[in-house]
Symmetry: C2
Subunit: 582 residues, 2 copies
Amino acid sequence: MITRMSSLFLRTLREDPADAEVPSHRLLVRAGYVRRAAPGGYSWLPLGLRVLRNIERVVREEMDAIGAQEIQFPALLPKEPYEVTGRWSEYGDTLFRIKDRKGADYLLGPTHEELFTLTVKGEYSSYKDYPVMLYQVQTKYRDEARPRAGVLRGREFVMKDSYSFDLDDEGLEASYQKHRAAYVKIFDRLGLDYVIVAATSGAMGGSASEEFLATAESGEDTYVRSTDSGYAANVEAVVTPAPPARSLEGLPEAQVHHTPDTPTIETLVDFLNGAGLGREFTAADTLKNVLVKTRMPGTKEWTLLGIGVPGDREVDMKRLEAALEPAEVALVEEADFTANPFLVKGYIGPGALQANGVRYLVDPRIVTGTAWVTGADKADHHVVDLVCGRDFTPDGTVEAAEVREGDASPDGNGTLVAARGIEIGHIFQLGRKYADAFELDALGPDSKPVRITMGSYGVGVSRLVAAIAEQHHDELGLVWPRAVSPADVHLVVAGKDDSVFEGGERIAAELSQRGVSVLFDDRTVSPGVKFADAELIGVPTIVVVGKGLAKGVVEVKDRATGERTEVDADAVVDHLTGLVHG
Amino acid sequence: MITRMSSLFLRTLREDPADAEVPSHRLLVRAGYVRRAAPGGYSWLPLGLRVLRNIERVVREEMDAIGAQEIQFPALLPKEPYEVTGRWSEYGDTLFRIKDRKGADYLLGPTHEELFTLTVKGEYSSYKDYPVMLYQVQTKYRDEARPRAGVLRGREFVMKDSYSFDLDDEGLEASYQKHRAAYVKIFDRLGLDYVIVAATSGAMGGSASEEFLATAESGEDTYVRSTDSGYAANVEAVVTPAPPARSLEGLPEAQVHHTPDTPTIETLVDFLNGAGLGREFTAADTLKNVLVKTRMPGTKEWTLLGIGVPGDREVDMKRLEAALEPAEVALVEEADFTANPFLVKGYIGPGALQANGVRYLVDPRIVTGTAWVTGADKADHHVVDLVCGRDFTPDGTVEAAEVREGDASPDGNGTLVAARGIEIGHIFQLGRKYADAFELDALGPDSKPVRITMGSYGVGVSRLVAAIAEQHHDELGLVWPRAVSPADVHLVVAGKDDSVFEGGERIAAELSQRGVSVLFDDRTVSPGVKFADAELIGVPTIVVVGKGLAKGVVEVKDRATGERTEVDADAVVDHLTGLVHG
């Protein structure tokens, strides 16, 4: 295929668009791949659409290879199934809601769990029908509060979403691993540098959820990774290594001290270190008790919950919320203190909480045999040497303390550092949530119903265009990996002689016959404009047919390395065919 | 590619769906191609999606072949461009409107004229940029009052819409003809029986608008065609042949008659024939004057308009509206008679209308020298022998009279008969409507702006699945043309012996290696079930590997003709490869 620049619907821009924050957005607009059509809505121009389609093809090939079957749902969906699962309301403002001419409620699908589940229920009934994996490549809609960075976070975007349906947990694990392997292949083929991060703390079992993040400064997702190992995880998913329990033997007794004017951990530590206790205290020796309240979805009553973390760390509400999911978490208010006079603000200790029936969960570092300075449940008083397992026994542990760079990696190798990435894939063992909601059962060999268990797997297809561009560009423009490039070769005719144009035409025609797609710059503009456009557009191989042709040579340039090679004009078609198909 | 029925996400149905009115809907559901997901919203199951994709591929190939370039717009669009053209309100209830979280107005694109125009304006500026043709294959949304017949008329559907942008009328005509030729190729390749009907009466010039209708009993669109020629047109587009004008010489004078109790044409004709006038009258001798009122879009004032048609024909409001477009047309009300006392209800003649400044348009049959019985503008009185061109002179002609079977074909060959079809394509010379709305100009060679002229061309891609099924089925099921079939060959293993299964596996593998896609029925169900499913699914070639294999033969059945051939098992792969690849 030959695409002629002289008639291609493409106008490159010299200036960066005013609203572009990140390189991919800037370059995809400047090089004429996309245009903004609405807030969070982009038009794909010819070159952009080709990149998008190339990515879709890779995704489909790898989905088909693991036996997933492609189907397609409408985007405009009735409310009812989303009411059954509660997502009609849970999605909040992010859901685009719409009424039809009869006043019936519809939504624009943000994801299609409900439809996949109902469709399998509609077709399948016997255990012999399972397992099955289905997918679609479809336009999705989310009314993002802050659409940003071009196609990186749009309100209308293309996503591949697939679902697995299995009879048991082993089947789900196998389907999950198939998807995981397929995603590795997809992102490898697309030339991406990415990490697979644990996305849940593992409360639901091993690898219940993992995210594929393309490493990028501009990424919205933060994660931590180990300095020394392949460990990587969402901050919410980091599991704090618990130290071994210690012996209670010979530990000093707990002592309550009058600690006036110590409203903060810092002032408390200073006070203690000036109190002549014969020891040096740090914030890490204190136990900070934070009070929150929780309630389960669908209930109205809030319940108090005490959270104990080492005093040198803050409570990370996102980690706490992830740990307590699906419960809602809220901070306590003044009224809660008034209603519960046993809570002495600023001096809360484990004692009053547990004596009054408040559940008390602690950071995993707070193990039996560790001694703490903490509130004495009495204004202006703290207790020193309160020993876990002797003076108080927590109701359990919780991942609530902030994760910090320098923390030990949970896998025991190295320490954690923070990094940023773009979420390009997510694989998730959904379990039976949707099967329960719609009573998706298979009739087992014993004629008893077996509740199906599901996995959910997503790839951000249109976002991948931006993610790849984030990783593959330089100061001159885009530098596409071959698998997604809008053409195999960018052929530039540099010169005004008819013989040069004719030479270009001949090479383009021969390449096309050999199955090499050519972006052919046959315009009558200056070579400088053509070269600048070639660098900006980013096809991996640039061929320049110029005055060298008279001597029988053309120039082949590698867009990524900048390396230029003079190639015999008679051999260049073979040379390029080898580069592309070889 | 081999698709195994044992794991394919497909369950055929023995019963017709309760809501299916037409064969395509019934069979596409029964054979597991589509499932209803919402009113007017369908899910594409694996086989259906393949047919849809095959059609899309043919459409893209022919669009690319005429130099049209593919782009893609969002479906969720801001209100503003549609306000500029007035379509935000003109579309009425058919437009899905939506508010985002900030309360801003959006719509789901029913067609994308506005976006195409704005996009070309955004990229192009010089006359050297033109002409250009752009297209997209995209999901469209229309809140149809009565979605029906499965994917034949949905509220969410796939459409190919393209637009041409030219500097002048000759350019537009050339772009139009390119699209017309491409559409002929597309529908021929898809194996469709179709007619190209004139869709406007030609007031805008020659072939300003044509529709491609797939002939089908179940079609929603009615049209007329000639018994003897290739002439076909929408009823709105039929141009009435005007008889030649006649001499006024020697025609009897007009005479007013007292005609009591003649409220209808029939009673009038009876009265005249009993009045001893020495002639026989028929309804065709009377001139019926119908009063309507019109106003131009954006104006408030209604203006009276008189329409004269032969008394044996009704006024066809659809034809009248098409003829008067873009004006609105309404019937007169009692208040209009009260406000205009010169109008004598039931006895309106041309005289009072024209004397009072009411424009008077007549059917083309009413030419100079024709004599009519018509109202005398006086209760209970009619005038006989009122001669056109002598006693009254119309302000022009209008296509308002009903078209009837048996009318002479406008091309002079044969007579008209009515027929029904499914609109599968529409090509239309839009002209400068949208270019005017958005001031789409090119800077000409003389540095003066040239207003661009546009063409609009649509193919109903998802509807084509149903249209093809309407034409290609029998009582047993679907009968796909090869170009769109979900597989090349349906291979049925009929037997329980391992050797038969192994033979089937071997043939399937060899076919797949030769680039023949195989739907392989490797299930352990009875041969009867497999045969019934094969007929229902409708792959054009069915191969049965059964007990004949022991004797070295397999059966090849042509789904369309039912013809069965015994083929040597060793030769069957060559035989089928020849059938498929030609």
